[in-house]
Every structure is written in structure tokens, then in C-alpha cells.
């Protein structure tokens, strides 16, 4: 039996020498080119970082290939970033070119630094979770193919952080991303009245619904529940609590697009992502409507925003009226909040632009 409670390995064992020597002593960095950084320490030491795009869902073969590169160029050390990219830490500047060449040869992109679209934080989707309203890895692959030029370049006004979550549980930071791709159900749960009583506690299930849409089944015999379609907004929390209430539906499920979220405190305080497009159909394998919609938003943003303006900061300056006009996205009643904090989102001023 393996020892328990040993916790994570001590990161100090995994620090390359140049990092150990200059730990906490770094002075400044430069972005030499898209995907390549240099950090210079107070002693003058330099570490070069080559950031390689990764699809996050990776095989052990991929990991071994990465290790081969790290052994060859980085004395057997490497790290991953908080957005799944791989970082090769090189001390000898001359190794940069050959490393980059080998990475390219593997068909892997270098980039994700500075004013780029870095890799998309995403979740399990149809690959592993039981509550998804869309796939994750597939949508991310399709969208990044469409935005590929922006990964390895610095031509955007500021960083564009995209995240995907395949249901309203929103694993990851979909609720604070420049662009968020959110899987949505649009059909009420299909209740399996036979199994419900064996697999669910009725009071907990009823209490699981934020809008009180679940009531005991009128027919006492059934020992089940029913959902009031008027009150259901497809959040999926009942299914999380009660396996007999799945919402997934081949036709109803789809994707909503949200914009203007931000995590960093630079310039503007952190912001939530706001609804841009309520529903686009699931259209595997390449989700053309989703990729087109996101590309349109990125390109309208790139054309109109000032330098250092994240998408949310740009929209705050020009106004949401202007965002919908420039992107051609239709503003619908669904865009208007109707939950607990709705009144704080309504416009209490005659300050607005005509379009």
C-alpha cells in the first residue's frame, strides 16, 4: 500500500539551476518575440523561456516528446503554465533556434505571450464529464484553428483570454474571460420517474433548484417530481443532485458567447464576462457558427480598441450600444438580466449613444 498524505513533491527538486540561483532575484524581462521571453536577474543571469502551445488533453507520448526536448535543450527541466502551455527554460541563447525548429517540426506552435490569444482554458466536455451541454477539446481545437495567427503574434491591442466551460458549473474562469464559450442546455430535465426514487432524495432535489421550479409529483404513487417549464432556466443543478434528471439534448444543447471579463487588476478592476450571443447550435466537429462568431468579435475588437485596452475596457469606453452595432450581433430580451441583481444592470441614465 502506498504511503498516504505525502502531499505534492517539493517543487525545489524540480527547479533548474539557473532558477534556483536567481530565485526571487529576477530584475526584469523582455518579450524577444512571440512565445519567447528572457528574464534577467540582478546578478545578470539570463533565462530564456520558449512557450509552446498545448491542447491540454495530451497523451503520455506527447509528454515524453516534450521531455525529450527538455532533456536536449533544458538539462531535463520544464514547466507548464497556468493556461496548460509548456515552457522550456533555456540558459544558453544559442539553443533557442534549434529548439524552436524542433518544436515547429513536431507541428507545435510557439506563442501565447503578450498581446496574443493564448491557449483556451477549457474543461472535459463529452470527453469525460456527465453534465456537458457541448464538447470542450473539440470546440477549442476548432476555435484555435480559426484564431491561430493571433497565438504566435502580438498584433492585438491587449491580451485576449478565452475560456470554455461545457455547462453552467463553469469550471475554469469562464465568468471572468475576455471571451467565454459556455455550453447551455435549453430543454428542461427529462425525468426518469421509475429510477428517481431509488437514486435521489426528493427534498434535496427540490431544494437544488435556484428558481423553485421543482415540485413533488402530483401523483403521490410516482414518488417523483415534476419541473415547471416556466421557472426552469436549465442550470443543471438538479441533475448534479439527482441522476434521474438529465438535461442533455442533442437538439436543444448549444453554446452561448460572453465577452468583456477580466481577472487582472491592470488599469481596470476585474470584471465578469457579459452575454454577447445567447445561443449558437452545437455543430460538431468544427462548430462553424461558434468559430465565426468568435473570430468576428476578435477582429472587430482588434480594429477598434486602443493599445492596452482589454475587450471589457474597450466596450466600457465605446459603450455596449456600439459593441452590438459594430459586431452586428443582435441585442435580444435574453441579454437583459432577470435574476437577483438585475436592477443593477439596467441603465439609470440618459447617457447613451444612439448606436
Amino acid at each position: 500500500m502506498g504511503k498516504t498524505d505525502i502531499g505534492p513533491p517539493d517543487f525545489r527538486k524540480f527547479l533548474p539551476p539557473v532558477i534556483k540561483k536567481n530565485y526571487g532575484k529576477w530584475k526584469y524581462h523582455r518579450i524577444l518575440e512571440p512565445g519567447v521571453l528572457v528574464h534577467v536577474s540582478e546578478r545578470g543571469d539570463e533565462v530564456y523561456t520558449v512557450r509552446m502551445g498545448s491542447g491540454r488533453l495530451v497523451s503520455v507520448d506527447f509528454i515524453r516528446e516534450v521531455c525529450d526536448l527538455a532533456d536536449k535543450y533544458c538539462d531535463g527541466y520544464l514547466r507548464f503554465t497556468s493556461r496548460h502551455n509548456v515552457e522550456f527554460l533555456v540558459t544558453d541563447k544559442k539553443k533557442l533556434a534549434p529548439l524552436k525548429k524542433e518544436i515547429a517540426a513536431m507541428g507545435r506552435p510557439i506563442g501565447g505571450t503578450g498581446h496574443s490569444v493564448t491557449s483556451i482554458v477549457h474543461t472535459q466536455g463529452w470527453v469525460h464529464c456527465h453534465t456537458p451541454a457541448t464538447d470542450a477539446s473539440g470546440v477549442v481545437k476548432a476555435v484555435m484553428d480559426g484564431l491561430f495567427e493571433y497565438f504566435g503574434s502580438h498584433n492585438l491591442p491587449a491580451q485576449v483570454r478565452i475560456a470554455l466551460a461545457c455547462c453552467l458549473n463553469m469550471c475554469g474562469a469562464v465568468h471572468c474571460s475576455d471571451i467565454a464559450i459556455l455550453g447551455v442546455h435549453t430543454k428542461i430535465p427529462k425525468i426518469d420517474h421509475e429510477t428517481l426514487k431509488n437514486v435521489c432524495e426528493i427534498p434535496t432535489t427540490i431544494a437544488a433548484c435556484p428558481t423553485g421550479a421543482i415540485r413533488p409529483h402530483p401523483d403521490k404513487e410516482k414518488k417523483s417530481v415534476i419541473v415547471n417549464p416556466e421557472r426552469c432556466m436549465y442550470c443543471g443543478n438538479c441533475y448534479t443532485m439527482c441522476p434521474a434528471m438529465p438535461l442533455a439534448d442533442g437538439e436543444g444543447d448549444g453554446i452561448s458567447i460572453w465577452v468583456g471579463g477580466k481577472v487582472s487588476n491592470a488599469r481596470h478592476t476585474p470584471m465578469f464576462s457579459r452575454l454577447a450571443i445567447p445561443y449558437l447550435p452545437n455543430n460538431p466537429p468544427r462548430w462553424p457558427e461558434v468559430t465565426a462568431a468568435i473570430k468576428n468579435i476578435v477582429e472587430v475588437y482588434a480594429k477598434h480598441a486602443n493599445k492596452y485596452e482589454r475587450i471589457g475596457e474597450w466596450i466600457e469606453r465605446v459603450g455596449w450600444e456600439r459593441f452590438f452595432k459594430l459586431t452586428g450581433i443582435e441585442f435580444t430580451p435574453l441579454h437583459i438580466d432577470d435574476y437577483k441583481l438585475s436592477t443593477t444592470t439596467f441603465r439609470n441614465s440618459t447617457q447613451f449613444k444612439w448606436g
Binding site: M1, T4, P8, P9, D10, F11, K13, L15, I19, G24, W26, K27, Y28, R30, I31, H39, V47, G53, S54, G55, L57, V58, S59, V60, F62, V66, D71, G76, Y77, R79, S82, R108, P109, H115, T123, W126, H128, C129, H130, D135, K141, D145, F148, N155, C171, G172, A173, C176, V199, P210, N237, G250, S264, N265, A266, R267, P285, R286, Y308, K340
Partner: protein, 399 residues
């Protein structure tokens, strides 16, 4: 050539971004689990619906979490993913690895699972993606032998994460990696044995750029800050203005031309900087440490030296009451090993949350329900204006 069983997924082998389908196919050649995963995913692509059943309770001896149970709803078609549990392996702080350690992990997983992983999961774990129940314990044993342990899941402390911090970033105001590692080891019991109303997450960012998204994705966010002045190297400022040094933060590309007035002075949220053509003046009393000027001119500006952290609480995703971002609880706390003040605070928070929280009620939701005032009282913390964007405008005061 035999017609492909996954025509839809094959479409995703095209295109410049690395293809997870190509990657899985390599492993599928030798691993039935990976093969059946692809075949089941193809069915999902056809029917536009997932084929995984509600997870059951699976795990390893001595732990109440770390494993997500997963069963295919078509074991008849895809027997090799009848079980497809994932194991969450607690990552080394900052996701630093040696190739030796990674290769060991790969070998263990090759022996005990699908050979597929997520590097990494959104909370930060190494996700070993898909294996059968009987493999869980042996796999854990080998992992433990190799010095790895499971991460958190369920109503427990989840795996803490840290930004690269002082290992490679000049702006880290405290040792994010040491803090994350220390805290994770301190609270192993809470991590492996779910005992709370619901999950609890820590995240450690070295400065207000928040590169581990702590404010959005953790119940208790620790963000580096400083109390004194921004360090200014006037010569370097002139170098940026003169164009000798290119502004950082991707100022490159077609927006290369650096204009200190437009790009820095006018973007300071509190307008507390002045540039008179020669000298940069910062009125630090009015600086809110947003990081922007430092981000743009890293060779000229550096955070202060009297560093510490700001503690924020409450961040979470939308279910049930709506998404929350963490709120300032303690504007400044010195933050050095062994972080005792911080650990005592965490214990106090858990105690209050455990006592008052309803089932599946996160810390942020409990604070909202009970009131920040009651929470501060319980924590013995003062109310300070840094905690609010604005004082109340609602007149219902509980005198």
C-alpha cells in the same frame, strides 16, 4: 485502407492548432481504453450528446477524494471505457518538473490507465484521464512510491495553485511556490478527507496581475502587494521613451511606437503619474498598485520592497446564487514562512463556515447570506473602507 471509425473526429486532425485527436489516436493504437474513448466520443459527435453516466463513489484506501468516478452509458459498445475514472494528482507548485519525474508518471499511467492526461486540470492537478476501478489502488501505490499524492475533490480542500512567482518573475511580492507547497502539506487531512459543507479553494498570485486567476477561482485568494513606493529608474524611463528599450507586454506588433503619455500616464487608473518630458513622478499615495506602468516598463519600474499580500475571500462559479469574485478581507498581511497568521485565519474561516454553512454552500454564499459584518465579527477583523467599492446605499441598517 479500412474506413475510419471516427470520420467526424478525423476532421479535427486538420488545422494548425495541435490536434488532441491525432494525439489520442497514437495511444489508441496500443491502448483499448483510448480507442474506445475515441469511438464513444465519435458517437457523441454524431448524436451531439455525452455518453458518461453520473459518477459513482470510487477512491483509494484512506482517502475520501482525489478520484472522479466515471462510467460509460454504452459499455456494450465501448467496453474499455465501461469505467473511465480520473485520478487527480497534486502538481508540484508552479508546475515545475524534471523529465525524470514526468517520465515516471507516464510509465505508471501507461501501466494503469488510458495513457491520456490533462496537463493540467483547471484547479491545477495532473489529471490522469480514465481507468478502471481495479487500477485505482495499484496506480496510487506506485504514484506514492514515486513521491506523488492525489489532489482534492468533493466537499474538501481542493488542490491549491500558485503562479510561477519568484522562480521566474520579477514582480512576485512573496514566495508563491513555497506558500502553496507549505499550505498544501499543512492541510493534507482536509484535502484527502472531505468534511466540509462543500469545496474550498486557495490560489496564490505573486502580484495584482493575478496570473493564476485567484480572484475568480478561489474561495481564499492571496495576491502579492507592497506598501511603500514603486522603485523608479529614471534613466531606464528615458530609454523607453527614446525607443532604446521596447515596451514590454507585447507593445510590439503594429502598435509598436511607444508613447509614454498615452500608453502609461493616461492609462493609470488614478492618474497619479506625471511625465514632464524628462522625469517621471509617481504620487504613490494615490497609486492603487494596478501593475500597468510596471507591466509596460519593467526595466524602469519595479514594485516596492515593503511587500506582503492582500487576502480576498468568496470567489466562485455561478451555481447556485451566481458567480462571485473574491472581496478584500485583509488589505495587507506580511507573508513569510511558516505563514502561521494565514493558517490560523484559514482554520478560523473553516470553523465558522463549517458551523454555519448549509450543504453545498460556498464561503462567498455564506458571507452573503449571514452578512460581511457577522463574518468580520467572527474573524475578529475590523471593517475598513478598502473592503468596499462603495458604502451601502440601502438604508436598512441593523443598528
Amino acid at each position: 485502407m479500412a474506413k475510419s471509425e471516427t470520420p467526424l473526429l478525423d476532421e479535427l486532425e486538420k488545422g494548425p492548432w495541435p490536434s488532441f485527436v491525432k494525439d489520442i489516436k497514437r495511444v489508441a493504437a496500443r491502448k483499448p481504453m483510448a480507442k474506445d474513448l475515441l469511438r464513444q466520443l465519435e458517437l457523441s459527435y454524431k448524436e451531439k450528446i455525452g455518453h458518461w453516466k453520473h459518477g459513482g463513489i470510487v477512491g483509494v484506501t484512506g482517502y475520501g477524494g482525489g478520484v472522479i468516478g466515471r462510467y460509460s452509458d454504452r459499455p456494450d459498445l465501448f467496453p474499455n471505457v465501461a469505467h473511465f475514472h480520473t485520478m487527480r494528482v497534486n502538481q508540484p507548485s508552479g508546475w515545475f518538473y524534471t523529465t525524470k519525474a514526468l517520465r515516471t508518471l507516464c510509465d505508471i499511467w501507461d501501466r494503469h490507465g488510458s495513457g491520456l492526461t490533462n496537463m493540467h486540470g483547471s484547479t491545477g492537478d495532473i489529471i490522469l484521464l480514465g481507468t478502471f476501478t481495479e487500477h485505482l489502488q495499484p496506480c496510487f501505490d506506485e504514484l506514492s512510491e514515486a513521491g506523488f499524492d492525489l489532489g482534492g475533490s468533493g466537499s474538501a480542500l481542493r488542490t491549491p495553485s500558485a503562479c510561477v512567482g519568484p522562480a521566474r518573475c520579477e514582480w512576485a511580492c512573496y514566495d508563491t511556490l513555497d506558500a502553496c507547497n507549505d499550505v498544501t502539506h499543512e492541510f493534507q487531512d482536509y484535502l484527502h478527507r472531505p468534511m466540509w459543507p462543500y469545496k474550498f479553494k486557495f490560489k496564490f498570485s505573486g502580484c495584482p496581475n493575478d496570473c493564476v486567476a485567484s480572484i475568480a477561482r478561489s474561495d481564499l485568494a492571496v495576491i502579492g502587494t507592497w506598501r511603500d513606493k514603486i522603485r523608479v529608474d529614471q534613466a531606464a524611463v528615458q530609454a523607453y521613451v527614446g525607443g532604446e528599450i521596447a515596451p514590454a507586454a507585447g507593445g510590439g506588433g503594429k502598435r509598436a511606437k511607444f508613447d509614454i503619455q498615452k500608453d502609461v500616464i493616461e492609462l493609470c487608473p488614478t492618474r497619479c503619474m506625471e511625465w514632464n518630458g524628462k522625469k517621471l513622478t509617481i504620487y504613490n499615495d494615490d497609486c492603487t498598485r494596478c501593475m500597468h506602468c510596471i507591466n509596460v516598463m519593467p526595466e524602469a519600474l519595479r514594485p516596492g520592497k515593503d511587500t506582503g499580500v492582500t487576502i480576498l475571500v468568496g470567489g466562485k462559479a455561478p451555481i447556485l446564487e451566481g458567480a462571485l469574485m473574491s472581496w478584500v478581507l485583509i488589505p495587507f498581511m506580511k507573508f513569510e514562512s511558516p505563514y502561521q497568521e494565514f493558517k490560523d485565519l484559514a482554520e478560523k474561516i473553516w470553523e465558522w463556515w463549517d458551523e454555519n454553512g448549509k450543504m453545498r454552500e460556498r464561503l462567498g454564499e455564506l458571507i452573503e447570506r449571514m452578512s460581511m459584518r457577522k463574518f468580520l465579527e467572527a474573524m475578529g477583523l475590523p471593517a475598513v473602507p478598502q473592503m468596499v467599492k462603495t458604502p451601502r446605499y440601502n438604508p436598512y441598517i441593523f443598528f
